[in-house]
């Protein structure tokens, strides 16, 4: 508390000196954007529009789900705060009826109705979150990934109101004490209180030539690739299976597809 108060006084003093504008500008100069600083090397994976297909029939046990979710949350230092109010999550389980509200019907097989689905950011083609952000702290990259700049975000949470998929989390409090020490990934930035975060489609791994962590741990249930490349793996799965997307009627153009049936992939 005393350190924080001292810090507050310091910040307050500095902003009085520079005016708030100066203070924000200086903060931006001093902090480097950890994601931007991962410059893509020659081995980087690139695409015109990254997309994911999730074949839920291939994720069978509770452990399968946990493995996928844990893979993401541990390498991205997603805190486990332990209460629903302050919860931060990038990828998680939701039942079919909740993932696709209005689509579910009482007569569909029980096995599907209560089947857990994986929910994550859809990296929408026309992302409402980007449209509403007053600082460009959330923005769409040329490869379709909707990314975040944690150092620019003012924490207004307009993007959370705008996202039709509930994909965004806010740091209601300092997340760092809730990252298990031995699990912390020093190569990925931790976040501070007061900013919004979400799935990044593992842009930092793509830059190093790696597929997303959840895809890697999914035993082939999650497929990742370029939607605009007709030879890509995602396109092959999409042309061989009936897939659905969440709330397509909204027109945001989700890049995450779901296979329910469970045909063998072409």
């Amino acid at each position: 508390m005393s350190i924080n108060r001292r810090k507050f006084l310091k910040i307050a003093g500095a902003s009085a000196l520079f005016g708030l504008t100066g203070a924000s500008a200086i903060e931006e100069l001093l902090t480097t954007n950890a994601e931007a600083s991962v410059s893509p090397g020659p081995e980087a994976l690139t695409a015109k529009r990254w997309a994911m297909v999730i074949d839920v029939s291939k994720i069978k046990t509770k452990e399968d789900y946990e493995k996928i979710i844990h893979a993401c949350h541990s390498i991205h230092n997603v805190p486990d705060i332990g209460n629903k109010k302050d919860e931060v999550k990038w990828i998680w389980e939701e039942e079919y009826e909740n993932t696709f509200p209005g689509v579910s019907d009482e007569f569909i097989p029980e096995s599907i109705k209560h089947k857990p689905f994986l929910a994550l950011c859809n990296h929408c083609a026309k992302p409402p979150c980007v449209r509403v952000c007053p600082t460009k702290a959330t923005f769409k990259r040329p490869d379709g990934i909707v990314a975040m700049d944690y150092h620019r975000c003012i924490g207004c949470r307009f993007c959370m109101a705008a996202c039709p998929f509930g994909a965004r989390s806010f740091n209601w409090r300092d997340p760092r004490p809730f990252i298990k020490e031995k699990e912390e990934n020093k190569e990925f930035p931790t976040r501070m209180k007061g900013v919004v975060e979400k799935c990044t489609f593992c842009s930092e791994r793509l830059a190093r030539g790696l597929k997303p962590a959840c895809v890697e741990k999914s035993n082939g249930a999650l497929v990742f690739g370029d939607l605009e490349d007709s030879n890509s793996e995602v396109r092959k799965v999409l042309s061989a299976n009936y897939t659905i997307r969440r709330k397509p009627e909204i027109g945001s153009g989700p890049s995450v597809y779901y296979v329910i049936g469970g045909n063998e992939h072409a």
Partner: protein
């Protein structure tokens, strides 16, 4: 002119110190929030806006309602409003001040607020809202101050201020329209995604703002020698009546669309607010209180014999104000978040620190209002015997 706020009766100073004390409590709680984060409030991942943003929304309306005086007085030369127009403009200043503070305390990273200007983003409605709100504050400060200064000197206000006064009319409409667009343009939030949102905002604004002004006029008359005039108050009462009817009518349209179409997504927020959903019903008593107050106020307001009795009018105005405060300063924002994007219900209720910070900001608003009114009244008392100037 500021020095006029520094002399006052014992009652004046007691009131000022009460306000300062509440502001102090609010500020201490804000420091706690600054230190701990917004988790100190009742907001959550599912209901990510709460009391702060809803107070902001409500107060934008109060601020915008100053045009209900400016239009008749300056555009139609309605002399009756000669004495109250300054009270309306000063109320707008206090309300916008509160709006800006409510946005500020809602930010997760308040020290970065200037990023909105450093990285201007015209596609964001919040960017425009920040622009129009500050502009409106500026316009009202200049207009209010110049007209009052002119008044004190016993001369008509300078010509250059006229265009600003005219500009304030569309500007007032813009602040509330832009604020409605914050909500009305979001896909996936059925409760907010409605074309009549801006219209309803204006309707409720033109009812709640003048209702507050009537109450303030009656207080001013009690505590000072300055009388805003019986007719002015009655004229305001008519404005409240029409605006309240418009607001209730527009709310009725929302109900019709939701329940006649029977589209579940459209019905759910209304069901949650007025009847409870999936066993969650925290807001139901409040929403019904709002409804009952609205009905009671309309019965009084629509009846000229009742409306003409000032104590009845005052009662109706309090009812209008509370009813609309619940509707817009609470239900509107929470309703948009319930149920969440997964059709699950997470309820919201403000925490104690959140309520105290909110109260602190309201007190800042009342402090600004008190000081401005004190000055205006002192000038008016001085010039009371002089003939009407404009």
């Amino acid at each position: 002119m500021l020095e006029k706020a520094l002399t006052g009766s014992k009652r004046y100073w007691t009131w000022i110190f009460i306000l300062l004390a509440i502001i102090g409590v609010g500020f201490i709680n804000y420091l706690r929030q600054f230190d701990y984060g917004l988790g100190i409030t009742g907001m959550s991942r599912d209901v990510s806006w709460g009391f702060y943003i809803s107070q902001f929304t409500f107060l934008v309306g109060v601020a915008a309602s100053a045009v209900m005086l400016v239009i008749p007085y300056y555009l139609h030369d309605f002399k009756t409003f000669g004495k109250v127009v300054i009270l309306g403009e000063f109320l707008a200043i206090a309300a916008v001040t509160m709006c800006i503070l409510f946005i500020f305390v809602d930010l997760g990273q308040p020290m970065r607020v200037m990023n909105v200007i450093l990285h201007p983003t015209p596609n964001s409605i919040l960017f425009w809202d920040a622009m129009v709100l500050n502009g409106y504050l500026f316009i009202n400060l200049i207009v209010g101050w110049t007209t009052l200064t002119a008044d004190r000197k016993g001369v008509p206000p300078p010509d250059w201020v006229k265009p600003l006064i005219y500009l304030s009319v569309p500007w007032a409409v813009s602040i509330h329209t832009v604020t409605a667009f914050l909500y009305a343009g979001l896909p996936g939030r059925h409760f907010w995604l409605t074309a009549v949102m801006a219209a309803r905002f204006l309707g409720s604004a033109f009812a709640s703002g003048p209702a507050l002004l009537i109450i303030l006029c009656l207080i001013v008359r009690k505590v000072s020698k300055f009388d805003p005039g019986k007719e002015a108050i009655q004229a305001l009462g008519k404005i409240v009546t029409y605006a309240m009817f418009a607001n209730v009518f527009l709310l009725g349209l929302e109900f019709f669309t939701a329940f006649y179409s029977q589209i579940p997504g459209h019905m759910h927020p209304f069901v949650y607010l007025y009847a409870g959903l999936d066993g969650y019903s925290k807001l139901v008593p409040l929403m019904w209180m709002s409804t009952i107050l609205a009905i009671v106020s309309l019965i009084i307001l629509v009846n000229p014999n009742m409306r003409r009795k000032e104590n009845m009018l005052a009662f109706a105005c309090v009812a209008v104000f509370i009813s609309l405060w619940i509707d817009k300063g609470f239900g509107l924002v929470v309703g948009g978040f319930v149920p969440n994007m997964f059709e699950r219900v997470t309820e919201y209720w403000p925490s104690l620190p959140e309520a105290l910070i909110t109260l602190g900001i309201w007190s800042i608003g009342f402090l600004v209002l008190t000081i401005l009114y004190k000055i205006a009244i002192a000038v008016r008392e001085q010039t009371a015997s002089w003939p009407e100037l404009h």
